[in-house]
Amino acid sequence: MTSPAERGLRESATFDRATIAGIQHAAEHGVYDIRGWGAKRAVPHFDDLLFLGASMSRYPLEGYRERCDTDVVLGDRHAQQPLHLATPVTIAGMSFGALSAQAKESLGRGASEVGTSTTTGDGGMTEEERGHSKTLVYQILPSRYGMNPDHLRAADAIEVVLGQGAKPGGGGMLLGQKISERVAEMRTLPAGIDQRSACRHPDWTGPDDLAIKILELREITDWQKPIYVKVGATRTYYDVKLAVAVGADVIVVDGMQGGTAATQEVFIENVGIPTLAAIPQAVQALSELGMHRKVQLIVSGGVRTGADVAKAMALGADAVAIGTGALVALGDNHPRYAAEYEKIGSAAGFYDDFQDGRDPAGITTQDPELAARLDPVEGGRRIANYLRVLTLEAQTIARACGKAHLQHLEPEDLVALTIEASAMARVPLAGTDWIPGRSGF
């Protein structure tokens, strides 16, 4: 059968098929679409950057012999016990509730095997997660679901979450089908109801308050633990300056491609800025304050490969965090589930209904039968493999650029393929010395 295009039919760029489906969904159900994953629209990204490998004017390192270190220290500004990770690729915050206990355990096992950290989410800390994560970052979110000082003291670092890239300025909604008895108990809510997460913290409002809140957290934990502040990427330059001012040890900036377990489609696709645009703003803010590398910057949102890791670090990040990539490594959207994805109205490679708890891969679900499909030991192995590959890939690029440590990568190693990426990343368009808005017309 010939395709519509082959028959000369023309699809509207304005009312394309996804838009038409969205309108019809709204008209039929009277609710907006809530889904998981991050922004799906095309935005300037790491793909639009290239590295300038060494040649005559730069000296490369030998690929399989010469060292290229990857370790990173996070949180040594104020904390007495900063983290020392073997790789700068960390696991982003994802809640038990959004993810199955098996998925959380898998992340912990994999991250611990390669010497990096995992992060809790909106719903508290589970025994599986603490038990299997050598280094665990405990999130403090507006809802404070499951918030517990014992967990605060048991954590290796504390992350105050102001927002995330998928929905800066938004709270959350974990739909009732994922509120199992255990999830409900951890969150002090009735089982089965749609659970709303606030978008603002209950006990502080602006940065002046947050500075005091951070003081309180430091006092409770006797100044031992690094305190991160996480923001969704929007006014990143100002947010990062304020995060430094309130006393953060580490700042996490999550771009709009960063994932979510359940957010309105309209929010995911229309609020926030691309990761690529956020990093130089953050680095500029840190540099102007003399805090670059002193307050560490973790970047997340669309990190998939070691090239992305290397590019984020070349732009000035100290580390990155992966979320969606880690779920894919666990088997999310795997073709082996193609038939089951079709049954629930999706397809392998397109599945984003993390909110509805019917994940065939057993990752974003609280259904015991589905969750049992994910073996945490095998899941841990896959995460460890993926993290090792990301690290090795980043090292490969860094050596080619003559760098003996991933942190030695610098903007000078990069060029952009498009004018947009060049303007956002503030590196020259390939083959030129032109950076739009920076170096004349």
């Binding site: 749609d194 502080w204 003081l215 309180e216 006092e219 409770i220």
Partner: protein, 251 residues
């Protein structure tokens, strides 16, 4: 910690189970709040007097022990934050976030408290003898809060569990988006928040109210049938438990 010293004085405070023991004195005019909290986290005494708090933030936070702490003056933000088992009395006013995320134990403020008192607290008893500002009991998750005076707007916002007793008035937005917490108010109530409704106050609720007032030391109210009869009960209509755009006006 030079400012730590033994006090020969006898505590004049209620709620203590260790009356008669000497209280260790920490004067925040000469000791830092960091020294105070470090001492309370590895206590060398069971009873403490904290002098000259002068609005200091994070006083007596993160206690995880069976301690009596008597703060003699006004405190800033987050006094008693995340308290576990500690019995804290503030002879003065308290700033925002009093007893935030308290797990157990008790906190009593003799004066007024600022906004977000008892925010997200999961257990224990929080008593404010005066009044509180807005968002008292915001996102409370199991704590009992008894306020002698009025509470400000948006109190018990998204309150999940626990009980809030207000002996004065409650301003607009009481119980907005409330889940399963129960609210008792003796005085006037402004416009109720979304999904919060008045509910019948039955005998079991009256008994609960008496229990809470008694625990808070407000026996004059607890033993006054007329006063008890003025309380009304509020809770969730549970219409927002399942999201639908037909409730768009409530969001």
């Amino acid at each position: 910690m030079a400012a730590l010293r033994k006090s020969p004085e006898t505590e004049a405070d209620g709620g203590s189970t260790t009356l008669g023991e000497e209280a260790r004195v920490i004067d925040l005019a000469s000791s830092s709040v960091r020294e105070l909290n470090a001492e309370l986290h590895s206590p060398t005494a069971r009873r403490y007097r904290v002098l000259s708090p002068r609005g200091t933030h994070a006083v007596a936070v993160g206690i995880d022990d069976d301690l009596d702490v008597h703060v003699e003056g006004d405190v800033g933000y987050y006094c008693g934050g995340m308290n576990q088992r500690g019995r804290i009395v503030v002879d003065g006013m308290a700033g925002p976030g009093l007893g935030e995320n308290m797990m157990s134990g008790s906190i009593r403020v003799r004066g007024d408290a600022s906004q977000s008192a008892g925010a997200t607290a999961r257990g224990g008893l929080l008593v404010v003898e005066g009044k509180t500002s807005m968002r008292c009991g915001i996102s409370m998750k199991g704590v009992d809060i008894v306020v002698g005076g009025d509470v400000g707007p948006m109190s018990a916002f998204m309150a999940q569990a626990g009980r809030l007793v207000v002996c004065g008035d409650a301003a607009d937005g009481l119980g907005d988006s409330i889940y399963e917490a129960r609210i008792y108010v003796r005085g006037k109530v402004g416009e109720l928040g979304a999904d919060c409704i008045e509910k019948e106050l039955r005998d079991e609720h009256r008994a609960e109210l008496v229990e809470l007032l008694t625990a808070a030391g407000m026996t004059d109210v607890a033993e006054d049938a007329g006063a008890l009869g003025e309380f009304r009960r509020y809770g969730s209509a549970r219409t927002l438990y399942h999201f639908t755009s037909e409730h768009a006006g409530s969001y």
